[in-house]
């Protein structure tokens, strides 16, 4: 599904990603772990298409397409979803209006008719249950005045609405208390299907008690330096990141 080969990316003059390789197939859950500043979030940003990062070498293909030929919105419509570490507050844009525009624009890209208001409302009600958000959500402005937990639940809610093929969740567990963490993780698990894939980027092993990965990758200094199964995360927890650095 997603193939990353020898990816190098800069911000300004500074090289952040230094030859990263990753293969994600349908039905798999991957976890990317690593200390702060190793380029985990940069990887998510480059996949999303953030302009401030320059790709200097390497390639990313998604279902056979060269990702760098696609705009930010086209990548989304092809089925890539990014769950943000810091979701943006957008005063004045209601969640309902935002999601309806997003769902219908993605449908348009795929050659489908727009969804009717009734269908859409039913879908909203259905999907917000996945992350235990109240029905008052629709009229609220996107993330405005949301607590940290609500913002992350809202990310998973959007993921549920957009039904991506590949979800990349960047530090979705940061700033969550244990209840919110459980709800967010359950949401991700409920959305798992044989034809989609999830990549969770995390700093702590804690999230992986709830979302069980098929592969754990350890990232250090702009590269994936070690890959294993879920026991690798436990080993890392025990030995600390210094083990990787040495």
């Amino acid at each position: 599904m997603l193939t990353i080969k020898n990816l190098h990316a800069n911000i300004g003059e500074k090289e952040i990603l230094k030859g990263l390789n990753l293969q994600v197939n349908a039905g798999e859950v991957h976890a990317i772990m690593g200390p702060n500043g190793t380029g985990k979030s940069t990887l998510a940003s480059v996949i999303a298409g953030r302009e401030k990062f320059t790709v200097t070498q390497g390639r990313i293909t998604f279902n056979g397409k060269n990702l760098f030929d696609l705009s930010v919105e086209e990548r989304a419509a092809e089925g890539i979803f990014i769950g943000f570490q810091y979701p943006v507050e957008i005063p004045g844009v209601s969640i309902a209006n935002f999601m309806r525009t997003a769902v219908n624009e993605q449908r348009k890209y795929r050659g489908l008719d727009p969804m009717s208001i009734f269908e859409f409302q039913a879908m909203m009600e259905d999907k917000q249950k996945i992350v235990e958000l109240t029905d008052k959500l629709a009229g609220r402005s996107v993330n405005e005045g949301f607590s940290g937990g609500e913002k992350k639940k809202n990310e998973i809610f959007q993921m549920a609405m957009l039904e991506p093929k590949l979800a990349i969740l960047d530090e979705t567990d940061s700033g969550l208390d244990i209840d919110a963490l459980r709800i967010v993780a359950n949401g991700v698990n409920k959305l798992k299907r044989p034809d989609n894939a999830t990549v969770v980027i995390t700093h702590y092993q804690r999230l992986l008690d709830y979302i069980v990965p098929d592969f754990v990758h350890i990232m250090y200094d702009g590269k994936i330096v070690k890959t294993g199964d879920k026991t690798l995360a436990l080993e890392l927890e025990e030995k600390g990141y210094d083990w990787i650095k040495s």
Binding site: A48, E73, A76, V88, I90, G92, T101, A102, E105, Y109
Partner: protein, 339 residues
């Protein structure tokens, strides 16, 4: 004579001025509701005075449309006076309409007096071609416990000049003055507001927002004056602008002049661009850049429009603003005047 206005379900009393003149024709086609009296000004032809009798709730809004429909260039001056009697309520929609193609200069002078415990909603709209100049001047005098809600919308025209002067002549007056200007090409907008808190316990709120594209220019001056004995005054002022290009230009001058010591006053002015992070966030959900920009601009503008109390007017404005932000040249094309 037939007049249609595109605002759906707006059930209003309609008063039409022809090229700025209030005349026999205007009177003929206007059935004044109970409690409203209109008298021509004997000194100045075409001008008039509109009075709402004390303790009258005028149920339907009154829509005053100044239709300019001559084939030649025209300087139109029209003036009227509105007096809302003690304890009375009125909603007034004032439209200047010149959708002929020639260059006009339109000047309006509106003088408003709000007697004690009265309230007025005043909506100032326009529908003029992009070669024309519009000067709107409004003076308001507010007595005790009177309430003014004023909205000014600017979507078209070439030179636009708005001057508002509001005086609180007695205690407990309340004014909520808002406006929105969406400008592009070479449109040039000027707005000066002077709000005088001459007496204690007054409350005023100003909210003006602008979106400027291409080489459009805007100049906003908001002057709030609080007299020495006008204690317990609360005055808020906000002017926010969104610049879409490097060539668009905004000057904003908020100005508070306060002589009383027990007051709550604030002002804010911002000039900014669309939030890049918000734009990126919307795009990562599959919303194309153009639509994402429109969504953000609309959210910015809606801050003002959502405060319009008359539902049909608000819905109409929302639609008009969405289309304007999509780059359409906005005219109320159904606003037609037939003889």
């Amino acid at each position: 004579m037939k007049f249609t206005c595109k605002i759906k379900h707006l059930d209003a009393y309609l008063l039409i001025l022809h090229n700025g003149v209030f005349d026999q024709k205007s009177i003929q086609h206007f059935a004044p509701p109970k409690g409203i009296k209109i008298t021509p000004n004997p000194e100045k032809t075409g001008n008039f005075k509109l009075e709402v009798a004390p303790n009258t709730i005028v149920e339907k809004p009154l829509q005053l449309v100044n239709v300019i429909d001559t084939p030649e260039n025209l300087d139109v001056v029209h003036a009227f006076e509105v007096v809302v009697g003690e304890g009375s309520t009125l909603s007034l929609i004032h439209c200047d309409e010149s959708m002929n193609k020639v260059k006009n200069t339109i000047q309006t002078h509106v003088s408003i007096e709000l007697k004690s415990h009265s309230s007025l909603q005043y909506y100032n709209l326009q529908n003029i071609n992009n070669h024309s100049t519009l000067n709107n001047q409004t003076e308001v005098k507010q007595h005790n416990h009177s309430r003014l809600i004023s909205h000014t919308y600017t979507l078209n025209g070439e030179f636009l000049n708005k001057q508002q002067h509001i005086d609180f002549t007695e205690e407990f007056a309340n004014a909520d003055v808002q406006g929105l200007y969406l400008l592009d090409k070479n449109q040039d907008y000027f707005h000066r507001i002077r709000l005088n808190h001459n007496q204690p316990n007054g409350l005023s709120n100003q909210l003006f927002k602008g979106v400027l594209d291409d080489s459009a220019k805007a100049h906003f001056e908001g002057h709030v004056f609080v007299a020495k004995h006008a204690q317990k005054t609360e005055a808020l002022q906000n002017n926010k602008n969104l610049l879409l290009t490097d060539k668009a230009n905004v000057q904003t001058h908020p100005f508070l002049e306060i002589y009383a010591d027990d007051v709550k006053c604030s002002h804010g002015a911002t000039i900014g661009q669309l939030d890049e992070d918000a734009l990126f966030y919307l795009r990562t959900r599959g919303i194309p850049e153009k639509q994402a920009k429109t969504l953000l601009m609309y959210a910015f503008a809606n801050d003002v429009v959502r405060n319009v109390y008359l539902d049909p007017l608000r819905e109409y404005l929302e639609n008009l603003i969405k289309r304007r932000l999509n780059g359409e040249n906005i005219t109320c094309e159904d606003c037609v005047f037939f003889n």
